[in-house]
């Protein structure tokens, strides 16, 4: 019987010829990522060794990545103290993939990992962040875990008692129309299968529209797979994956790639023709409350956010800059840009996108998770409405339970910035 991507990866990570959905395995971990919540991980890690007489040492300091991104620079003394404790732990344990609060090598964890070549096809990646699903864009099996589970990984180097997930195959055919983007595909899929439609499963992406999509777009669709409940999203690696690793991530060595078996067994197959797709909007307060933009066009908004691990990359900022060039953000709308990493910030600066956006009235902030989860900057006022390229619109997500968040692509966000109401970018001239 053939294997899916995730079955193949888990067979390799456990040294077996084959595994199948439902098997219980303990895969070796290739990369273990945390952000500020490393402060909790290290607390739980030290707890494991308490009263054992053993020295608390991580299993492999070269396979642990820690990136500060959720509250940077620190918004409170509490965060600053947590970050200080993590820094001391990193130094003591010799953790090498550490990205502090810096303009040269800092940024959002789900951008830092791929752009530094830390993620390779076929790897097992775990992260104490639900959007760790992003890294399936490079053909890895990448999934989110809690802090205590990460403490266990730091100690043992493997994830314990993992049930091999079943897989939903998504086949995206056709060619994206102008101003319809990967974000619209993933929002449409989440609306179609629901917020729990892929719970405990992996979404494997296939089809012409995926093959022609660049890694940035693949990061967007894998990133939001978790919003359908998926353990992970994954794109079988191909020539584009190798191009990204070589040209963007600077990987010099030869990278081996493999896809699923042609006779792999899937729980479900979903086909989507992107050529007939409209821009999509996830309406308050669940990510699966998805409507075509035409259904909500005209809704007044007070804040627009372009950024996050979902849509804060160079191509996202470029889309916005092109729509806003020589124009003005409507009065009464705050437009916030959060590039996904320091590197993207510098590239967007060099290309003039940030100047264009600022001249239009947008505010550019440092790279970080910022307003996406309401922990740092960009909170909403009572009764306010935001339109955002981020990934979640749960009640209270942007820091205020008495506000609303709509999710969209960067093209919809930029077109709406000009009007102050939700606007179909295909109508912009």
């Amino acid at each position: 019987m053939g294997m899916t991507m995730v079955e193949k990866i888990l067979a390799r990570a456990t040294g077996q010829a084959a595994v199948k959905a439902g098997d219980v395995v303990e895969p070796k971990v290739d990369l273990a990522m945390s952000h500020e919540n490393a402060a909790l991980v290290l607390n739980q890690f030290l707890e494991i060794y308490k009263d054992t007489g053993l020295e608390a040492r991580v299993w492999d300091p070269s396979k642990i990545a820690i990136i500060f991104d959720h509250r940077v620079p620190a918004e409170s003394s509490k965060t600053a103290t947590n970050q200080k404790k993590v820094r001391e732990f990193v130094a003591k344990q010799g953790i090498t993939k550490f990205h502090d609060i810096r303009g040269d090598e800092g940024g959002i964890c789900h951008q830092i990992l791929p752009e530094n070549g830390y993620v390779r096809p076929g790897c097992v990646v775990v992260g104490t962040d639900s959007h760790t699903t992003s890294h399936g864009a490079l053909g890895a099996f990448a999934f989110g875990i809690g802090a205590t589970e990460m403490a266990s990984v730091w100690a043992l180097g493997s994830v314990l008692n993992v049930e091999v997930p079943g897989t939903i195959k998504v086949v995206a055919t056709g060619k994206f129309p102008k101003h319809v983007l990967p974000k619209d595909l993933i929002l449409y899929l989440i609306g179609k299968i629901s917020a729990e439609g892929a719970n405990f499963k992996v979404i494997e992406f296939h089809g012409e529209a995926i093959r022609k999509m660049d890694t940035s777009g693949r990061l967007t669709i894998c990133n939001m797979s978790v919003e359908a409940g998926a353990t992970s999203g994954i794109v079988p690696p191909d020539a584009e994956t190798l191009r990204y690793l070589k040209e963007v991530a600077g990987v010099r060595e030869t990278v081996a790639v493999f896809g699923p078996d042609p006779d792999a067994v899937y729980d479900q197959v979903v086909e989507i023709d992107v050529s007939s797709l409209e821009p999509q909007i996830a309406c308050p307060h669940t990510v699966d409350n998805v409507k075509p933009v035409s259904a909500v066009a005209g809704t007044p908004i007070q804040q627009i956010v372009i950024g996050s691990c979902t849509n804060g990359r160079l191509d996202d900022i470029e889309v916005a800059a092109k729509i806003l060039k020589g124009k003005k953000v409507a009065r009464g709308v705050r437009m916030l840009i959060f590039p996904a990493s320091g590197r993207i910030f510098r590239e967007a600066m060099a290309k003039g996108y940030l100047t264009t956006l600022m001249e239009a009235g947008a505010l550019v902030a440092n790279s970080g998770c910022g307003p996406c989860l309401g922990v740092h900057q960009g909170a909403l006022g009572d009764g306010e409405v935001a339109l955002s390229t981020t990934n979640r619109n749960f009640k209270g997500r942007m820091g205020n339970p008495n506000s609303e968040v709509y999710l969209c692509s960067p093209a919809v966000a930029a077109a709406s910035a000009l009007t102050g109401v939700i606007t179909d970018p295909r109508r912009e001239r």
Partner: protein, 164 residues
Amino acid sequence: MAKVVLKLGDDISTDIIYPGRYMATVLPTETPQYAFADHAEFNARLKKGEIPPGSVIVAGKNFGCGSSREQAASCLKGPDLVVVAKHFARIFLQNSINLGLRTVICPEIEADEGDELEITADKVINKTKGKSFDIVPLPKARQAIIDAGGLIPYTRQRVLAGKK
């Protein structure tokens, strides 16, 4: 017997259970003060100690969807609450098992605030309504962690075994 102290709907996210703005607080000893912070009345009762240990939160499907934040499980474990839901999101369920928060998967559950429940090995009996509902067992793969009393003692056993 345990009383239902909070009844919730479907897709209750970790942002509702433990709002993001309190995420700088990480220690399990400190997180319970922010449990359901935006449900002001429930949060106030919890903080005043008016909710006895073993009290039940009843919810619909996909409880704990969203973020991997472990605070969402530790803030309910602290006051020793029990969550009975139609089903749970993966990471939340895993975090609960790892920390020893009692979670019960009960796809047909019917209960309202104030109802008295008895939770057995395979059924939730709603004494107030005179109905009983089947429990779906937690994932078999996780039993060893549950039996060890949580992931920290389980990993400790493994670390010690590896050093022998």
